[in-house]
């Protein structure tokens, strides 16, 4: 054994050595400090808004929300069932020249399947922010709100809170495509 390792054989030195290793390990864990001035939310988060949202809507998993995940389709029966459900709504939309673009409805469904925090995000054909006329927005938003078969987010057999969304492609006020 080299001379300088002789102290490792002494119980006290051995304790000091392992103490140092533990200290090193835990101090390394603390190296990652939160940077200051972080943005308030992760991208896509929908914070509670008392002017729009139901105060009784409860999340199940302590703020852990799955993004549209854990399942193949966000809607039971997939895109075809979505078309079947939404078609009567689409038929009610009047022709409106210039009402072109994409209207996305994003919302939260908790682990019990209750839905809330609906938000509308809309863009024009050039992908810039746009506001569709109120009748189009209200009709599509209410239709999404009342759709019965949104899937609950799940992972390994357990239900979670999850974000869902659907995008409607509009040309002259008519829905020409539906993107889950």
């Amino acid at each position: 054994m080299p001379d300088f390792l002789i102290f490792y054989k002494m119980p006290l030195c051995r304790s000091v050595f392992w103490g140092a290793v533990c200290f090193l390990f835990f101090s390394c864990q603390e190296q990652k400090e939160e940077p200051p001035n972080l943005p308030p939310y992760i991208v896509g988060h929908i914070p509670y808004d008392e002017s729009k949202d139901n105060p009784d809507f409860e999340l199940c998993n302590n703020g852990y929300i799955i993004e549209n995940g854990g399942r193949r389709s966000p809607y039971k029966g997939g895109v075809k069932k979505m078309w079947t459900y939404f078609q009567p709504t689409f038929d009610q939309l009047a022709y409106k020249k210039g009402e072109d673009g994409y209207l996305t409805v994003r919302f939260l469904a908790n682990c019990k399947g209750e839905k809330d925090r609906f938000r509308v995000l809309a863009i024009n054909k050039r992908y810039r922010p746009k506001e569709f006329s109120e009748d189009i927005t209200t009709l599509l938003l209410e239709s999404v709100r009342n759709a019965p078969d949104w899937q609950i987010a799940s992972h390994k057999g357990k239900n979670y809170d999850g974000y869902n969304m659907v995008t409607f492609k509009l040309t002259d006020g008519q829905v020409t495509d539906l993107i889950p």
Binding site: F4, F7, S27, N68, R72
Partner: protein, 276 residues
Amino acid sequence: MKYLLVYIWTLLVFVNFGCQEPPPPLTWKSPRQEAEHWFEMQTDYFMGSRQSQYFLSKSLEADPTFARAWMQKALPHLQKGEFAQGFKYLDKAVELNRLEYLGYRGCAKLYYLHDSKGALKDLIELDSMTPNFTDAPWGRDIYYTMGIAEKRRGDLLSAYMYFNRSILNTTKEKGEDWVEVKVFLYRGIVRLELGDATGAIEDFEKGIQYFDKFMEAHYYKGKALLELDQKENACKNFAKAKEFLTAGYSYSNQMYSMTEEVLMDDILHYLNMCNN
């Protein structure tokens, strides 16, 4: 005693400096070096997290011409339906490095918004920028993606031409077993829609040859066989599709809907017909 002091001193030095990341230099050699440092920091966090957003902002503050950071900033917005922000950042990345990010933007337009026309514009431009080279935006042969875009647009002949080109190019360059099986599937679907059920079956069988649990290929082969009035054989394929889907074999993506997605209801519809 001398060795004891050396031993303790070494431990202290080790403990004090061993695990600390080297501090960022006070002066950077260039804005890009600083931007890359902050970009690297954000890779420790999940995409779109508060920390990731913070470090990407620092990166872009240091060097607003750093296209990779704009691209990274765009991704979580696109995935979460915030398309205005997503495309604003992605456009910036494309403006700064057209060759690198045009293909990504084309795919994003196609898969997130079903904007086939916009997607084709980007993909055709990218293809023209790289003669004698087959690009692979989103990890897929560009002609395959262009075929999907044309099919969505309803131009079946163009779609067929692109799927064909994808298969022929890959076969010529690397061999047929390098062709992604989905290209056979889509060329088959297009042939079926063009009325060529026999040709379609050849493509579905080719897909199955390379991946025997190819649920979608079995399903569409069943549909093609029905066109040829071969009900018994068709039903066997629907049964196989059901078996493979039950076992979890299907192409799906959590972030965007799959073109020509096959669901259990579709298969059961045909199996019910088989039982009658």
